[in-house]
């Protein structure tokens, strides 16, 4: 599917989405509550058939936290980037997409571990790399006096 068509389609799926044609992929910023339904429709619709979630990253944008989903269709070859943003830094919760793409289970655990973003309906949301006392190191306001030495 061409980029322009894809932009129209995502806009029709979710009227609140901000869709732009990025440098590489079509990028759609979706409201947190709509993410699961948009993702599900993009996967099940045979015209888009986004069946391969190839990257899921958590990002700290400073004031906001975010999750970025890179999705590709193995049959049709096109890709899309879905993004969600949380205003609430203390208790960010999103819907898990593990039921849509099974690979999300590990990726979401990683994002929870390193950024503290929680995922509703995740089968097994526990810390992955770090012990419970470690905090969320990929956040920009993370402080660790012992291990991080700031050169002046």
């Amino acid at each position: 599917m061409e980029k322009a068509q894809l932009i129209e389609l995502v806009k029709s799926l979710c009227s609140d989405a901000e869709v732009t044609e990025g440098r590489q992929f079509v990028e759609a910023v979706v409201p947190v509550k709509d993410l699961h339904s948009v993702a599900e429709q993009l996967k099940t619709d045979p015209e888009t058939a986004f069946d391969f979630l190839f990257c899921l990253s958590g990002v700290d944008y400073g004031k906001e936290l975010g999750v970025v989903y890179h999705v590709r269709s193995t049959k049709l070859g096109h890709s899309i980037v879905l993004k969600i943003r949380f205003q609430d830094r203390d208790n960010p919760v999103a819907d898990s997409v593990t039921d849509i793409w099974l690979t999300a289970e590990y990726h979401e655990r990683e994002v929870y571990d390193l950024l503290g973003i929680k995922f509703r309906n995740h089968p097994d949301l526990r810390r992955f790399f770090l012990p419970a006392s470690a905090g969320y190191p990929l956040r920009k306001d993370f402080v660790d006096d012992e291990n991080i030495v700031v050169k002046k």
Binding site: R23, V59, T74, L102, F129
Partner: protein, 373 residues
Amino acid sequence: MEEAVKELIDENQEYVINMGPQHPSTHGVLRLVVSLKGEIVKNVEPHIGYIHRGIEKMCESITYPQIIHLTDRMDYLSAHINNEAVCLAVEKALETDIPDRIKIIRTIMSELTRIQSHQLFWATYGMDLGGLTCFFYGLRDREKILDIFEETCGSRMIVSYNCPGGLMYDIHPNFQNRVKEFIKYFRRTLPEYDQLLTGNVIFRERTMNVGRLSLEDAISYGVTGPSGRASGFSCDVRKHEPYSAYDRVKFNEITFNDGDSYHRYLVRMKEMWESMDIIEQLIDNIPEGPYAVKMKPVIKLPEGEYYQRVETARGELGVYIISDGNKNPYRVKFRSPNFVNLSVLNLISKDFKIADLVTIGGSLDLVIPDIDR
């Protein structure tokens, strides 16, 4: 004594044991908590993070040329390909034109890296299944590639040979001859690998129909690389999104439909032949020219997001860079193939015997530092 045994049995009457973190078959510090009913595996739960170094966090405080040295330490068997991923992302962001000489040398080095990685896979996989001879044969031949690396890059495994804009140094004058010599030698010795292991009855019995992964699961779990292609998932980035000089060489993407341990093994064996074909097409056609494009002393990427994927020996590596215009990246995410491939272990090892867990884990060819990052 009885009390101690009771503690090991959980509420489902399953016996829980720890495999690792120092188990020889995991090739690194991976701990698998395995629930067993008798000898049958009911659940496998990987515990990782023993060598989590926070590479993504470290990247946020260093410059782009410095990041390259960290990527070596992720998948140390695909070190050169990891370097290339970051370099390509930076070059794409700066819209730098890379001369053919650099592209071709990078491709040759990538394929040599792939061969040595598959050789080590073959060596250790044979050893995991009880054939110690494989280990000596595999390492004997791998040594020859490492010698070529040493001569050209100054290092054997952690090569750091790429830099944004090209290569760190020019190739050694002896490089082409040695590579050609190696290809000639390896074309003769690779059939020995098949004679030794591929046709072995014990090996085939232990790997065929063990750990079957369907195509749907492979795509849904995002299993890429040889492990995904054994299930029929056409996921070779070199074919689908050619980078460097892969658009000018002819090679086949090896896929099978069975998706068991034996076919995951077979994909790697056949890929070594393809890699040799690729090298042979390029080795005599290295044009003259500079080995690096002059870049600015301080590399700053324009504000924006960049994604670059490459095919390492284990699957699709993605580098996702968010830049805010500074000399340090704002956020770097590595989509590591091993992390994703590990997620399928529980699914495909269910209801097999515990000895098969070694077979299945070995056939996924996991490199632990790449999982932990």
